[in-house]
Subunit: 378 residues, 2 copies
């Protein structure tokens, strides 16, 4: 198995692109990554996307995007893993290089959500939940998150303590050029916003946005940022079958596997991007990754330990809440951000001396989760 | 890069399953393959599917199917490459074993098309074509195939000669227990059927069906059926950009790459499964694979050379036309059939002494194509 490194990254701002197509976004991010890597000749392309069938009425994205990038002929594969599409696509792209099949692999995540009315977005996102047992009951993903949020409140933390996950992400996004909402949000503002699904306020949820992010992977030459560990795991899609609703097993299993592959423990991680599509998910992500003890995630986000000068900086560019959450692109944004940190190119967001960073990207209510660990090796 | 072999295959009959869910079909085929391989412990699952977002309103299939198989926790990835989903998923599954990331990989293709009205199927299948330049003109995939079919008629063969592709597939399907239409169809019957898109008769098109097929891949131990070569290629999605409409470059490029990897030439191939979703596509598939000269594909299918006793048996279980074409499962059906042939388990369809077989699986109008070559090594 060959070691794999990041050769370049490309990010475009998360926002609403009224004048561009989903193809344009894909090409824009990909060309930035190619320029960053100084590489024109791509041998394989992975396209990560969740909702194009509903939003753009477009499937076969691997062929479509490869064509629009001006690379017809190049092998390409499209990965869909609901909100975990980016992290899973990255995992597959690593395998393509590790196996020796490809020497230069481009993985680009893209989602363009502003083309349609919100109800189509809601319908499409709801497809992450199993239709016959979960969606059949009429519960949405936000509704499931609300039940888990309430259970966490009963066990471990106050509503305000949980809400701080969103406040912190906004604080970290300030100055981030690719963030959709790069401004501070007060706890009072969030706690007085309307309920999305009681007890989750709308300002505790990530929004709708368009975006694309790219990474180029090549065999490692012993310099720069390597892929130290990569893993996917799954869990019961129907949460009623889970033995403990506050333990997201897919996160823990993927993290343990990725740490094992990297030869590290959770305490070795210098910074992390976690999936804070809801505040409760961000907190359970932190716990699942072992970055704090079970039940202490909310307490941790109420300290300065997750800031860039802290013990374990989390969501240093604003996370899903403030950087934005263009679903199929999100996992690649996370990994591009971790790369920038490890390359010491994170500017105002820089975590000094960061050597090991990870991205945790999950879909459904953690029915699937990818954990990818990157390491600076020189 | 580790060599990879087939440990087991599972097929369920292609038909309309009114009493089963798409999850059921996935599980049924997967369990057959696990039993065939004598393996319970799967390390990674690939799910190949095209249309579940439109038909079942279900995404996140990797997690959903892994859960229903009783394997929550196992890493899983869903691949969508329109009609090439199966061939592309197989390619990715091979990489997972070759790279050393996984030792036992299950790849199952599934599509359940009978749950909805045909117009939803048509809408979903049309998403294989690029929406802004191709579908915008109102042309369907059948319409594009019709233009190419007519061009082939002007250059190389009569309507009847092209139609024989379908007649032969039906002839080969007779006795096939997993075929949707295991009966002979006369040339007169096909040529007198209504037009689907002039000059393509409806009996020259594959139908709508439900199905699932599975393959289990493991590292090779030097026995049985190995993956000798595997490749994906792409092409312009808008056919107006192609220099020659009768040359499907994605087929040729993928085939050349797969042959090169296998260390063979097209003349070494003992049997092939080609993508005869339309008769013209089957013929251009045969030509693109180099199994005959350009322009001589139709002539070849009018001989006994493609029968099981012939020089190059093609679609020995009936192909897409007669075995059936449950889109996301089709590529895996092809590969399972090739495996049965190389294992000398093809019963009434057996090609005596077959050692090298390939499956050609494409999506859109060959905007993406996977060619996988299997070899019997003892």
């Amino acid at each position: 198995m060959r070691k794999v490194k990041v050769a370049g990254v490309g990010l475009i701002p998360v926002k609403e692109y009224w004048e561009k197509s989903i193809q344009d976004l894909f090409v824009d991010a990909s060309l930035i990554a190619m320029k960053d890597a100084g590489i024109e000749d791509i041998e394989k392309i992975y396209v990560s996307n969740m909702c194009s069938a509903q939003i753009q009425e477009q499937l076969n994205l691997a062929a479509v995007m490869t064509d629009f990038l001006g690379k017809p002929g190049i092998p390409a594969t499209r990965i869909e893993a609901s909100s975990a599409s980016g992290g899973v696509a990255f995992h597959e792209a690593v395998q393509a290089v590790a196996s020796g099949y490809s020497n230069v692999v481009l993985v680009t995540g893209v989602e363009k959500m502003s083309d349609v009315l919100p109800e189509i977005i809601t319908t499409s996102l709801a497809m992450a939940e199993e239709q016959e047992y979960t969606s059949y009951t009429g519960v949405t993903k936000a509704g499931i998150a609300a039940m888990i949020h309430r259970l966490y409140m009963e066990s471990y933390a106050s509503p305000e303590e949980i809400c701080m996950m969103a406040v912190k992400s906004h604080e970290h996004a300030v100055g981030c050029k690719h963030a959709q909402y790069p401004f501070k949000m007060s706890l009072e503002r969030a706690m007085s916003s309307p309920m999305e699904a009681d007890p989750i306020h709308i300002m505790e949820c990530s929004g709708i946005g368009d975006g694309a992010a790219s990474i180029i992977l090549v065999p490692s030459d012993g310099e720069g940022v390597e892929v130290a560990g990569t893993a996917i795991s799954t869990d019961y899609t129907n949460i009623a079958q889970r033995s403990n609703l506050l333990e997201m097993k897919a996160i823990k299993t993927a993290a343990d596997k990725a740490y094992n592959m990297a030869g590290i423990q959770s305490s070795d991680v210098d910074l992390a991007e976690v999936q804070d599509d809801f505040t409760i998910n961000g907190i359970l992500g932190i716990e699942g990754l072992g970055l704090t003890k079970i039940g202490e995630g909310a307490k941790l986000v109420n300290t300065q330990e997750i800031d860039k000068e802290g013990r374990i900086p989390i969501n240093t560019f604003g996370g899903l809440k403030a950087r934005g959450n263009p679903i199929g692109a999100t996992g690649i944004y996370q990994l591009a951000e971790i790369t920038l940190q490890l390359q010491n190119k994170a500017l105002g967001h820089q975590v000094e001396g960061a050597r090991i960073g990870l991205a945790q990207n999950m879909g459904g209510m953690a029915s699937i989760c990818a954990v990818n660990v990157l390491r600076r090796i020189n």
